[in-house]
Symmetry: C2
Subunit: 458 residues, 2 copies
């Protein structure tokens, strides 16, 4: 052990080898993530990560990568004798190139910092998620993060042009491609996006940049049914094309619960309706056509929506988004929150939520069920309010929810959060045996000794 | 052999097992593709492809997939004793779902037919390439095809939601995902996109659909330099956002050569300028703001461009595109055409073309050099006019071109055509040894007996 510690200290410097409470004290308490690794290193460069991996490989150590620790599926859980590689010191934005439209950042850069660096040039990254102040580039790549602008810019995968990666044996795969098009053989970076740290350690990434809208319109609307909102979505898409940035749904109990218990007392639409949505559109020219207002006025006249509020200031915009992004108020309603991240074709959203409500209330009458999420992408988040006892024995709840998800041929138990440890036992709901075997075959090919974040996904 | 033939006939039917001239007569004469396989089967379903693969696997037969045979890199070359799997009978559009915004098509569907099926619903696929009338869904996926609308919709990879694939041993990987977001473990379809048939046989695909523009404006412009055109590109992007559909460059000799020798006598701009570009924008509303015209008028006033013609009819639009898409007229100027497909950061386009012209003219004065391509994506096509003798010994020409490409840190020897056999010896210009070894490792993991399109890429 002493030999190992001094090898690691030689690579990253003594003060960047941590152990004991300095490691375990970092558990953010999300989900049921365990943080039992006794050892952590904090490398400062790709080459240090490479040397750390080589040492771990030679010593049969399991390596668990840490980014911003905002994941929700125990994707960073570690066991005794694991070695955590924290990317917190790799926090440099390496290059912002407005002419080429790319930003290069080390894995430990916070998403917000990358956005800020792009904004200095009037540009924006396509990926944006509520945890932007904590989550890191490496984490969003490992989980192929989604977020609030997928409807416009796609998932993280669609936004990454190149990656530098360290393989299990320390091999450095430099692939910081900045080209829009590159078909010179396999697109190897795809392997590492969304594989949750099981195939390699992402150390640096090239992101596409987009012109930042000169203006954004944000509306909160209310409707009598999901199907009316889906019709509105179709109409907004047709009339506004790629000006549509976000289309987020919030079912009654979620909206009401959050606004009832928020310390801000913020409730922009004060009437009760079955469902609410946040719709955001961007303008790239100064023409100031308030197109979102026009589309929503017409939808109000048609009865497609029942109420609408358009933010008239940045403060109002933030107040509207806070309802969607800050789930804390509902968490205060119960001991524990059990959260899900499921996905459907748009037409299946309504029957799924109805069926789930029925199934839940039959078995557990009056159990709080909060539904919200990226409705425009068919991605719902579900929060169940559980007692501590129920949370400790959560399988019956999970079984009911995934049982309902499984009724739909095109559905997923994870639209954006990933699988981690938390959903591994349920992967068969969304992936066939052939698919799971191929995932294992890839793990074996890239990481034959199961050194990289083992036990996650399959 | 007789046993093998009857096994195959049992799967696909006797008349769908072809041999001899019925196979070799299919060589379209592109590049130097060899078509020496003595045997071809034409399965009609994923399950038939699976059974064919299992038979090939059991008989140690190499399998080479055939789509529309429009590739340019000898990606479908076959040798004696290979078994060709042609997808020509798998030509059904399985589902068009305007509500979900997806189209599902078998691998043998021609791209044009998929576009037609989408257009019936006012929708469009994002992928469009000049060979749309011949190329197939399976081929564009295998090569991760680019084309004329990458600047708006991305490469084929960004447009595919799901794939059905048959692995080397006949295992069927059904993954016809129709969801916008699905993070349930690895995104396995990424493996098969752009891997040129070396990892599996794509049998069916799910494509995203987009609202078709209600109107398209097409302009031909002329400028005095590449850098002025790059400035124009930046301006058009900023002012028109995602209305920009295409930005295609044509250098003087290409434009002049094509328009001089086209049978149509079509030359919308009759003056000689150093460089021309086709710019196309879409309108999704009926507002009929002729925004492209405004942007180009301003650019003319500023001297950023020197001339411009805006198509005022569908016929004029087609005439403009014909200059870019029909390279036949330049092919008549020489015995043989040697074509390249290289990519750069935007700032490197001008010095690359200048350096290449210098290097070429030093060694081969007055050798015709035609440059054109998807300038907005940094992707240039280069055609050299060679004599038959020069074509037979083309290495010196290729070496000069890739030598010039290699001067730029961010460059590629294949932006969209792929590697095939043709560029395999040059892959090291664009991919490191570590990357090439990882490609081989993946081939070994998915196709341990090298049964699928072996020898291509690495």
């Amino acid at each position: 052990v002493q030999q190992l510690l001094s090898s690691l200290a030689e690579i990253v410097g003594e003060k960047n080898v941590l152990s004991g409470d300095a490691v375990t004290g970092r558990n953010p308490g999300w989900c049921r993530t365990s943080l039992d690794a006794g050892l952590m290193v904090r490398p400062a460069s790709t080459s240090e990560v490479s040397r750390v991996a080589a040492v771990a490989h030679a010593n049969d150590l399991v390596v668990v990568p840490h980014g911003g620790m905002t994941g929700l599926v125990q994707g960073t859980s570690s066991q005794a004798n694991n070695l955590i590689v924290s990317f917190e010191r790799m926090n440099q934005v390496t290059r912002v190139d407005p002419a080429q439209g790319v930003l290069i950042a080390q894995a430990g850069v916070r998403l917000q910092d990358a956005h800020d660096a792009a904004a200095e040039h009037g540009l924006t990254l396509g990926v944006d998620i509520p945890s932007r102040g904590s989550c890191t580039i490496g984490g969003i790549i490992s989980t192929n993060a989604g977020g609030v602008r997928v409807i416009r810019y796609g998932m993280t995968r669609e936004n990454v042009l190149g990656l530098d990666v360290v393989l299990a044996d320390g091999t450095v795969l430099e692939a910081s491609n900045t080209l829009m098009k590159n078909n010179a053989g396999f697109d190897l970076k795809q392997l590492f996006i969304g594989s949750e740290g099981t195939l390699g350690l992402v150390t640096q990434a090239v992101f596409k940049l987009f012109p930042k809208p000169v203006d954004e319109s944000t509306a909160l609307v209310a409707a009598s049914s999901v199907s009316d909102l889906v019709k509105l979505l179709t109409r907004v898409r047709r009339e506004m094309g790629s000006k549509l940035l976000s289309f987020e749904g919030m079912w009654h109990d979620y909206y009401w619960g959050v606004t009832e218990h928020a310390t801000t007392g913020n409730r922009p639409i004060a009437e009760e309706y079955p469902i609410y949505a946040i719709i955001e559109a961007g303008e790239w020219t100064d023409s100031r056509e308030t197109q979102l207002e026009q589309v929503l006025s017409a939808a109000l006249e048609d009865g497609l929506i029942l109420d609408a509020v358009l933010a008239s200031s940045l403060a109002e915009r933030r107040a509207i988004w806070l309802i969607r992004e800050d789930t804390d108020p509902v968490s205060q309603l119960t001991d524990r929150m059990l959260s899900f991240d499921v996905g459907f074709e748009l037409r299946d959203i309504e029957p799924f939520v109805e069926g789930l409500s029925r199934a839940m209330s039959q078995r557990w009458p009056d159990k709080p069920l909060y539904v919200f999420g990226h409705m425009g992408d068919g991605n719902l988040h579900i929060i169940l309010g559980l007692s501590n006892e129920e949370y400790a024995n959560q399988k019956p709840f999970t079984d009911v929810i995934y049982g309902e998800v499984g009724r739909y041929a095109n559905s997923t138990i994870s639209a954006e959060h990933g699988i981690g440890l938390e959903k591994r036992a349920y992967l068969h709901y969304s992936r066939s045996e052939e698919q799971r075997l191929l995932m294992q075959r890839l793990m074996l090919a890239l990481d034959p000794t199961s050194m990289l974040n083992p036990g996650k996904i399959v």
